[in-house]
């Protein structure tokens, strides 16, 4: 008896729609990406040559001081600077590794910055960063 050899089947993976999938993913992520808008105050940062990059974004809290001395913590304007200590006390209780980034305007009077630093010392939020921009053309 003759044994019929099976016809070899050609294996075929349909790859025509792969590009559709890839582009779909690309478009999905493009559409769903939300860029963080900084809701703070309008501030011109001072420049410094020793500007360092900071690590973990998670532990950061932002204190904005504009050139008129108006303050905002993260995105909320603080009408009464006396409440700053309380705000930072709650923050440090939530996260003891808190780093406060002081985003103060280059032309603000040092008084406002000093008051902020003093309230942070009162609250025990001791890790502080003065936000600066690296000096260009140096």
């Amino acid at each position: 008896m003759k044994i019929k050899r099976k016809k070899e089947m050609r294996v075929n993976i349909p790859t025509a729609s792969m590009s559709d999938i890839a582009f779909l993913l690309l478009i999905f992520f493009m559409v769903t990406t939300v860029f963080r808008r900084s809701g703070g105050l309008r501030v011109i940062f001072p420049t410094a040559r020793t500007t360092e990059r900071l690590g973990k974004q998670r532990d950061l809290s932002f204190l904005w001081i504009n050139k008129d001395g108006k303050m905002a913590v993260d995105d909320n304007v603080i009408p009464d600077p006396g409440r700053l200590t309380l705000i930072f006390k709650t923050k440090i209780a939530e996260n003891p590794a808190l780093i406060t980034v002081i985003k103060a305007d280059a032309n603000v009077r040092y008084q406002s910055v000093n008051n902020a630093i003093e309230s942070m010392r009162d609250a025990g939020a001791l890790r502080v960063v003065f936000a600066t921009l690296p000096e260009v053309g140096q």
Partner: protein
């Protein structure tokens, strides 16, 4: 042959799409790799604790840099320029490696000036930096 011409075969138009997926993924990976998230930048400082005892230091262990409301800088009583701050701090550190640099800024001085001085002090490699304030004199 003289017979009728063979009818031309209709050619099927085809666009090669097999590599489209490769191109798309390449784009995805390219953007993933080159994306740089904006990192915060600044000058770090650890504040002293409120409860900590105030330590009195003699002038030898300390370099006092004062900034007046007009933004002029003084090392002790001597007026110096911003460019001299670094040299001044280095000189002090050579005399005493454990010296502390105190930056006393007047309340009305611009913040920018204090950052400039702080920057120079950091460039001079000073480890112990302290910030102070000169209060506005209130009238009698």
């Amino acid at each position: 042959m003289v017979g009728f011409r063979k009818r031309e075969r209709e050619e099927e138009a085809e666009i090669p799409t097999a590599s489209m997926a490769d191109i798309a993924f390449l784009l995805i990976i390219f953007f993933m790799v080159t994306t740089v998230f904006a990192r915060e930048k600044g000058l770090k400082l650890l504040l002293p604790e409120r409860q900590a005892q105030t330590v009195k230091l003699s002038g030898e262990k300390m370099l006092v840099l004062s900034i007046n409301p007009r933004g002029e800088i003084f090392a002790g009583d001597r007026k110096i320029s911003l460019q001299d701050v670094q040299a001044e701090v280095k000189k002090k550190l050579e005399e005493n490696p454990k010296a502390i640099v105190l930056i006393r800024t007047h309340e009305l001085a611009p913040y920018k000036r204090m950052i400039d001085v702080f920057d120079e002090v950091k460039l001079a490699d000073a480890k112990a930096v302290s910030l102070g304030v000169i209060k506005q004199e209130t009238g009698p």
